[in-house]
Subunit: 286 residues, 4 copies
Amino acid sequence: MKNIGVIVNTKRPRAGNVLGELRSLAEGHGFKLYAEDAGMAKTLGAEHIPVEDFGRKVDMTLAMGGDGTVLYTARALHGFDVPIMGINLGSLGFLTSVGDTEMRQALEAIATKNYKVSTREVAECRIFQNGDPVGEERALNDIVLGWGASSRIVTLKLSIDGELVGSFMCDGMMVSTPTGSTGHSLSAGGPILHPGVGGFGINVICPHTLSSRPLVIPNSSLIEIEVANAAKSLILSIDGQDEYKVKQGGRIKIRKSPHEVKFLQLAGHSYFSVLAKKLHWRGSSL
Amino acid sequence: MKNIGVIVNTKRPRAGNVLGELRSLAEGHGFKLYAEDAGMAKTLGAEHIPVEDFGRKVDMTLAMGGDGTVLYTARALHGFDVPIMGINLGSLGFLTSVGDTEMRQALEAIATKNYKVSTREVAECRIFQNGDPVGEERALNDIVLGWGASSRIVTLKLSIDGELVGSFMCDGMMVSTPTGSTGHSLSAGGPILHPGVGGFGINVICPHTLSSRPLVIPNSSLIEIEVANAAKSLILSIDGQDEYKVKQGGRIKIRKSPHEVKFLQLAGHSYFSVLAKKLHWRGSSL
Amino acid sequence: MKNIGVIVNTKRPRAGNVLGELRSLAEGHGFKLYAEDAGMAKTLGAEHIPVEDFGRKVDMTLAMGGDGTVLYTARALHGFDVPIMGINLGSLGFLTSVGDTEMRQALEAIATKNYKVSTREVAECRIFQNGDPVGEERALNDIVLGWGASSRIVTLKLSIDGELVGSFMCDGMMVSTPTGSTGHSLSAGGPILHPGVGGFGINVICPHTLSSRPLVIPNSSLIEIEVANAAKSLILSIDGQDEYKVKQGGRIKIRKSPHEVKFLQLAGHSYFSVLAKKLHWRGSSL
Amino acid sequence: MKNIGVIVNTKRPRAGNVLGELRSLAEGHGFKLYAEDAGMAKTLGAEHIPVEDFGRKVDMTLAMGGDGTVLYTARALHGFDVPIMGINLGSLGFLTSVGDTEMRQALEAIATKNYKVSTREVAECRIFQNGDPVGEERALNDIVLGWGASSRIVTLKLSIDGELVGSFMCDGMMVSTPTGSTGHSLSAGGPILHPGVGGFGINVICPHTLSSRPLVIPNSSLIEIEVANAAKSLILSIDGQDEYKVKQGGRIKIRKSPHEVKFLQLAGHSYFSVLAKKLHWRGSSL
């Protein structure tokens, strides 16, 4: 591995600190760096190319910042087989498990190919309004249909592989990948899905019934959600970004993308340890 | 009891059926009826007066329709000591426990004062924007701050009697009376509060943490919710009606209203039986 | 398919009704029946063989009764590639989706091989006390460690693939297959796992912490639960049968069995429809 | 206030450290100390009397240890109007909110009567087997019926004020006071009930249904739980102490005790702050 893309969230106060170190480590290993930002390229002694070209030019990419930076990077590289190593500039993230004080180990790991690879499924979402396709999106974390400019309850019809699961009077519904299961899904009562589970989680937000429970289905499923009844537009959020307004009659269809994302982690990385630290998970309140 | 207000949701298909019966039963008992709608007044042989005058003219009011009709009636009569009997035109409701086939028993009960009285607390909500009061509302069910035109997470600061409970990153927050505990609150994971419990329930909607749980506090408390951080306006819903948009810096203060609402129920009324029927509550899935 | 094993829960009142029909349908199709019970064999005109020999003699087995009958059948046939069709004698079950009024369709489906096959993973559990293996069990539904002759809280240490997940002060812990996810797991707050999800669910019973959530992990994982601290023996229940008492220092190790169970379902079978009927699942309380 | 009872959990390693300080502070304020333990009495210069006599001799009692020490103290003093101040020897407890480094402030507060009083309701539980009363207990925290020497599910019939709420197939059921709502009840999914809420929480443990939810009822209610169906004895735990085994046909009746417990807290005590610290409550996982 010689060509390394670098994407940095420069708003993070600690971003500056590590760039010098990264440059000198990269030079030591004989890595060629690429950056999408002109100033960043200069600081790093990197070649300045648009992010669209990363997919063709780089062997792997360092995403430095928070989990949002990694989501941005994964979107930019979608469809290319370019693994990503997330470096957190500040506090540990689910996708940025390498600390900025571990730059030396990180570059060493890349040089010697001594790392763990965590492959993550991506969900693909096609949006239809009045039967017509109006867009297509990809989510590493989650696809959430909810909120809106009024408090009115809506009815969402959920089908899986053409079978009706139910019509839910609710405030919204969400589909999460295992990667997204520790995000919004968790706050809506969903389970934690280990990245190795080949499934999607489906949660109803504020269901108007006692009998709704989180569902986990195989990621080979085709999920359809139809806005069967709504006096308002719902917001469709993809990985936390508002992308569409969906009205009554609108439908979304979700299935697994043929493209995966590969994350590189240091050899000592432990999923459950990150879970515990990040979520303040603890087995006892004592 | 001689003067009886009648409020009917005329959109309910069964509304027509019972009006004739009501008229003749009322005549039999020597009751004088009052209606806010001219046509209705004619049908019932009732005096036509605006709903604002019900509080001064009537001894009790029949609210005929669904729970929404009762909420409307309670709002209209707020501050007057006029008990309400909810008659459902269709399916049983929490507040409309008398069926439209029980009109005879209902009028008989009113004539003989042989009924149960269920007193319900009302929550009073004052809304402030930039420190200035912008409105005041009353809720029989709940006060919900949430939704909005984007999916962005917000931070809500909850204080009770001046003590900070916590700053919650979340999608919203709600305060419910016991009456409202079987509504939106239940769908957000809240407990069922028997109407006799002198408390308010507080639930966070999609809290961005594992450690939030439903809170029940004495209804003598002063609850303050401050929109500490929000990139969008939140919708403030009072008993399911959108009333305000609340922006960052906005605050709501909630406390018990000095005025209660009294509901009249037939002698055989059972709270737990309505709960079971209405929520499809069951102790076993067998 | 010619040789069909028959296992019937004769305690079910409706068992008698269908045996005559089964006999004549089987004769019509030219099926040879086998039964483990002498009286049953006589009634059915079946060959009487011990259940241990079913694996070698029969092509498929009809399990007639409730889900318990199917669990018994699956245990008896474990390791043999003999598919099972569950026929309910009474109310619909998750594993007995064919009604006893559908015997004709069932036998027809078997004759024409026109059925759905639902393959279910089985969990294998090895039990250790003081470091020594004391037993090995298999579960189609779940493995639950809990209860006991006192109310004292215990500490259970959960590890997955050798990584510590946490030490949980709790009343118990359970591991469920997708098949078992609609049973005890659901009552402990676990999600519904579609049978096609290659995972196990792990739930803590009454965790002494706010921050525990249901976990779903790949079924390729090795799960270890150690009774790290307990003043009492815990009961180890396998598919609802008490099998062992496990004391402090005891450990159980759970992984996927190399053997699966195949269930035959009528062509029109819908997983979500059974879910809805059986759990009284509904998307609205209206 | 001059006569102060002292109950110390001498197993706590930090117990020794504070006794000297307590003795000298008490002498400084002219307090007379009483202790139930001869050795303790000597160390403290206290009068040695049995705990049964505390109710008549002392004006208030210091319970030093953990929440268990306070529960023991409250049981010993039940029926006497003797307030308790809980001092934690180690980590903060819900009932031991005064730290052992705050002994000076604590004694000062007692001397000047400058403290908060938090009044707590107590639940009274009568146990019946075969219709005969077999015991009567009191709980400051909770009354839990569950566990047992087998994993078999049981059916518990819950009635409130003579009205049937439901028959629950489950692993157990619990009734908690607000004081107990942050204990076992919370781990079973119950809400947090502020001590000022005049209610009891009722939770079903592992209900065999989707539709059970935590209930909060007025503490003026009479709660009856009947073991309608059980192949095993259930354990009845009162404030975490096993007290009875209850078989099929057994019943427990729970209502509010006429006697309350008063806890003394330092003036700056905040319920929500203790909640946050003790439960690691946080509004965000960031």
